[in-house]
């Protein structure tokens, strides 16, 4: 072995030593529990059976036949689709507005970020009061506008409950999208836009053919992060409706919580969440491929 080789090995050894703690931590907090969850999902552990017996794929078959699980999955998908889209659009509009030198920008930007730093559970309980039928400010404001008492039961009506959830969720998480997109837009060299404008491009054309392609890599990551986060939505729905009325707004996380930590069907919960991981992984793969393909086409 040459001296060069030894020096390289030494350098590599140093690299491994540096990443070892992080790798070990990831293995401990993610991989081991994941493997353990897989083992548990093939057993029948519940409140009455602390030491579970092997039951094969029973929990998986039960989960696939569980109408409540599919209902929760549908509700979750609806929240992801509506809220992430709304947050993206609103966040982009805000970012686009504030990326230029707007008067009061230094004051407005921190204000816009405030919702994202509040704990989602607090946001949920606060908005629950806002949506209250009798004493909630939202009905009061609607009453002032319409000129007659408004007694909309927002959180116990199967139709009206959805706008309440969407608005609350969008209110909290639009600032995240705004912040990421603001950074993306600020990083675009203004000369690109100026060149397009000199060539006679309209504002729409600049946006469509210059700004969006350039900000897309950042936007794609923001969408991915928010979609993953929205898929786990728990706190806000828990505080607003607790999945009700009935199971009309129950999300997958709420259902898993109910199965696992209220009814203590640990093995069944493990099976549910592993199915969920499989579904999310497929969805993310497809999403990422499409986004990557778009980026390559644009490049």
């Amino acid at each position: 072995m040459t001296l060069q080789h030894r020096a390289r090995n030494k350098r590599n050894g140093g690299k491994y030593a540096l990443v070892a703690p992080a790798t070990l931590m990831i293995l401990c907090i993610a991989l081991f529990p994941l493997l353990y969850a897989i083992v548990v999902s093939f057993q029948n552990i519940d409140a009455r059976t602390p030491v579970g017996a092997f039951v094969g794929f029973k929990n998986y078959f039960d989960a696939l036949r569980d109408a409540r699980f599919w209902n929760a999955l549908g509700n979750t998908a609806l929240i992801v689709a509506v809220c992430v889209t709304a947050e993206l659009v609103l966040g982009f509009i805000l970012a686009q507005t504030l990326v230029s030198h707007l008067p009061g920008k230094r004051f407005i930007t921190p204000l816009l970020i405030l919702p994202v730093v509040i704990a989602p559970l607090i946001v949920g309980y606060t908005w629950r009061m806002l949506w209250d039928t009798q004493y909630g400010p939202i009905n009061q404001v609607l009453g002032w506008i319409t000129g007659r008492p408004v007694e909309i039961v927002w959180l116990a009506n199967p139709v009206k409950v959805w706008p309440a959830i969407f608005i609350t969720e969008v209110w909290q998480w639009t600032p995240f999208m705004f912040l990421v997109l603001l950074a993306g837009l600020a990083a675009i060299n203004p000369e690109y836009r100026e060149a397009a404008e000199i060539d006679g491009a309209s504002s729409w054309q600049v946006l469509r053919f210059v700004t969006l392609p350039l900000v897309w890599p950042v936007m794609a990551v923001a969408i991915l992060f928010r979609a993953l986060d929205a898929f786990k939505v728990f706190d806000i729905v828990f505080a607003l409706t607790n999945g009700g009325p009935g199971t009309m707004t129950e999300t997958v996380s709420l259902y898993a919580y109910s199965v696992g930590f209220r009814n203590f069907r640990i093995s069944y919960m493990a099976a549910l969440t592993l199915i969920l991981i499989a579904i999310v992984s497929v969805a993310i793969t497809v999403l990422w491929r499409r986004m990557s393909a778009n980026q390559e086409r644009r490049a």
Partner: protein, 520 residues
Amino acid sequence: MNAMKRRFAIAIFGAITIVAAACAVPPAAPPPAAEATRPADPVGKIEGQAEQVAAAAVMTAMPPKPGGSAARAIELAKKYAGVTLNVTWEAGLQSQDPLLFSAPEFERLTGVKINVIETPFTELFSKAVADHQAGGGAYDVLNFAPTWLADLADGGVLEPLDAYIEQHMDKNDLSDLHPTYAKYQQWKGKTYGLWDDGDVFVMYYRRDWFEDAKNKGDFKAKYNRELAPPKTWQEWDEVCSFFTERGKANNEYGCAIQRTAGNTYLWFYEQFRSNGGRFFDADMKAAINSDIGVKTLTDMVNANKHMPPGIEKWGFVEVLQAWMDGKLGMIITWPPIGRWSEGYGLESKQLEWVPKTNVAGKVGYAVSPGGHSELAVGFMLGVSSNSKNKEAAYAFIQWLTSPEVSGQRVKIPFALRDPYRMSHFNDPEYAKLWPNASEYLKVLQEGAATGLADLGIPGAREYEEALDRAITAAYAGTDPKAALDKAAEEWNAITERIGVESQKAAYADWQKRLGANAYP
């Protein structure tokens, strides 16, 4: 392209890792140190009227009756002076009893320290089970709802208490328990808990509204009978709608019952059985979707029309606020509201969140329409099978539930423990706490005697939650029959999962033990 593949692979691995960490792994129950634990505050911190009551309780606690359960528990616990017992208790107001009175007093008498672990109500069950399944020992004394007893006993979470009772309790104290509550303490022939809270629904009504001459005349003209506290659910609806029509313009309503998800099944349990309903048929198939069940739920949905707008989201606090404000004619709820209605203890710091009463001296009490009140929830105390200090833990719960100490605790305004011993119902001191306190005690005792026990078989929580979801769905417009059919399906699935034969036996045992308190 390779770089793209690499990025893609990293992204997928990252996504799986994030989701796995977030979703797949049941997070371990936090250790007790991470809970909202607080050291026991000295009794001296109690302020106002509560201070006087608690101080009086401490004074009269000494000396306990020689040879009585309290005295024997103190002697037993002295052997463990210096030991700390971890005790779960419902977070918030409920915990003020052990924090401000019971724990400091027990420590003073025995040298045993009590670490009160405040826990949200629904987690009292899950944390106890999680601790046991993890090999535990985090808790010594467990606070739990009586309907969980079967699951906790079958799961091995609770320690049987018969040997301790035999050795250390004054047996006369068992006969001092109200006969209804005494029925609950056993499961499969063994005692797993000591009763600690006589929860029962009470119908509170505005006597002044019922005695108002104009109201009486108008009601008689409309319904051709006297205006009186309702004895049937139909009468309840009529009286409620009468008062609502009369007062709605002033934001006054005839009645309100909390309808938000979580506890609304309790009012169904009550009304359903008063109407003659049964939970299961002879084959252990759910019968909640019977004609009686559908009628009950339909009536409940219709009754909402006479209650305040948005009642579907009203919980305990919303009902309390409107009632204390004087805006409601009738409510059906737990006993503390009766005491607070008269202003008892509202001067204390612990109850400063309770709205000021506008109804003191105007409230009457009755058992629920149908003649049977739900013995809704309640509390028992047990010893964790994983405790390292079982005898000391038992000594603590025997002392807490002894006639002398429990008699003091049910009079502490913020303790939220309601009378459950004959000595509580017949306590002359209690009867003097406000002008019609004796009437209140009489109704609580009648409620206990004729009350209906919550369904207490394995899987009770799951049955309750399935029914609760069906009821809230019906409030939101789902056809009551369809909602109950779905709940019945879920009930049957729960029964099959736990075991039809074992559930049949448990249900038979529950009916036999509770007798007329299971079905009237």
